[in-house]
Symmetry: C2
Amino acid sequence: MTNKKKRMVIALGGNALGNTLPEQMQAVKITSKAIVDLMEEGCELVIVHGNGPQVGIINNAMTDYAHHIQSTCLTPLSVCGAMSQAYVGYDLQNSLREEFLNRQLTPPPIATIITQTRVDADDPAFTEPTKPIGTFMTKEEAREAAGERGWIVKEDAGRGYRRVVASPKPKEIIELSAIRAMMNDGALVICTGGGGIPVISEGNHLAGAVAVLDKDLSAALLAESLDADYLFILTAVEKAAVNFGKPDQKWLDHMTVAEAEQYCREGQFAPGSMLPKVQACINFAKSGKGRTAMISLLEKAKEALRNETGTTISL
Amino acid sequence: MTNKKKRMVIALGGNALGNTLPEQMQAVKITSKAIVDLMEEGCELVIVHGNGPQVGIINNAMTDYAHHIQSTCLTPLSVCGAMSQAYVGYDLQNSLREEFLNRQLTPPPIATIITQTRVDADDPAFTEPTKPIGTFMTKEEAREAAGERGWIVKEDAGRGYRRVVASPKPKEIIELSAIRAMMNDGALVICTGGGGIPVISEGNHLAGAVAVLDKDLSAALLAESLDADYLFILTAVEKAAVNFGKPDQKWLDHMTVAEAEQYCREGQFAPGSMLPKVQACINFAKSGKGRTAMISLLEKAKEALRNETGTTISL
């Protein structure tokens, strides 16, 4: 199959989806406009999205329900992650179809694919879980949860106690062949939501892992695996910057991989915020010549693709 | 694309998935064996499944959570339906992959596709909702829910009050082109779970409907739309019967559409049980020559395909 379109994996951040369902139903409309814009610019797209607030709500609801009603059956975090992919994917695919129709375009096949992502059982993240999830607990509730459910709990900046889980590195997108086949058919695929459902290989079995993934790192792995031209991380800032918030702050139009790695070593990017995004960009840009990673605002996606704004990273 | 394989849509009933997550994780292993058996017999498959207990658990959990924590934001039934597709699909795709590997076969692309099914806003079912969902309520709770949430509630056989919703007829599988493309690529697709997320067309918009669908009727529509050779309804009985439970009970090996319609008129099949299955079979068998609908046990799927057991319906 010959195809001259540029292949792009988009990673949607929290601002593209909002924190609650009503917010999400509004946000996906703006997000859909940006996505269809990119397709009209001649890109073929795969969409990856975050799931922090969504998997939080679902996990809280399912845990409370199990606690109150049927305490023998807690829904594992992996299953909650799967559910969050549908919770987001349904709204997004619904809204994308509508955006194509509003532009009097025939929608391509649009599909949300439930995706598993393999992680290593011996990833060091599992020995030192750091990602807080779920509701805040009192000290006593935390002790109970640790005892009854085997949760690892930590105090969270004086606001109470929360469960913490590991955030291991994504190693393999299990549904890659399905995603690739759909893409080759011209479909618009939504997949690897929340970075994918984390699973660990146990012989032929893939076991759900107690973990959350970084969606940008998973999107970079997916982009590399699909031999994409672009990884595009859409977020709440227009560009990355060095000396951020200081008098000599400098917005970055472009970084080579070597420059980006140097900035990371200097501590230029905030951990848990810009740093993992830049790291995901480095991973993808490093994986082959002609691969460009971009960071920009959702609302300026088209302009960034035209090189009018945003930060690009390439070899 | 030429393909001599027989195209089949399978509809999995409650016994293929169980009522709780631990039951589901066991049940999908047996279900996966039956499905891979059918593929080894030379079928290309699309899998549709029910979601009664699953959407019930999810809907209860999300409703309780909204009630206790954030009462402004109830999760609509449509979103709960989407989540149930992932709740089941994740376990099923995970287990299917494992079954292929256990047989030393390379798994095909396997994907769960979140699916919307269009229903008509003026379907008479909406004026007379009959399907109970969610937990039992006291009379007072029922009155409250009716007032605050606009729910329609009915007394359920002396066991308390429950919300009732409509079960309209499925009219169109929105993600059909994606499902067809995946199937043409040799993928094993899990889709239209719970009969699909019911949506109503409002101009270019598809609005989630307060409804549940009959998964067998949706499977029949999907089979017709995919130009399938077979619709196979896997359930808890080996064959359909006339005069069921009476001295002259007769198991049926085959019915013509005309015979099946006659039996339906005679009231031979139990409403809410065998009747909708036979009606789904009639719909599919009637839709074209050479189309065969089958009803049999999950565990005897291979034998039924070989015509050794089960009930078939054709023109």
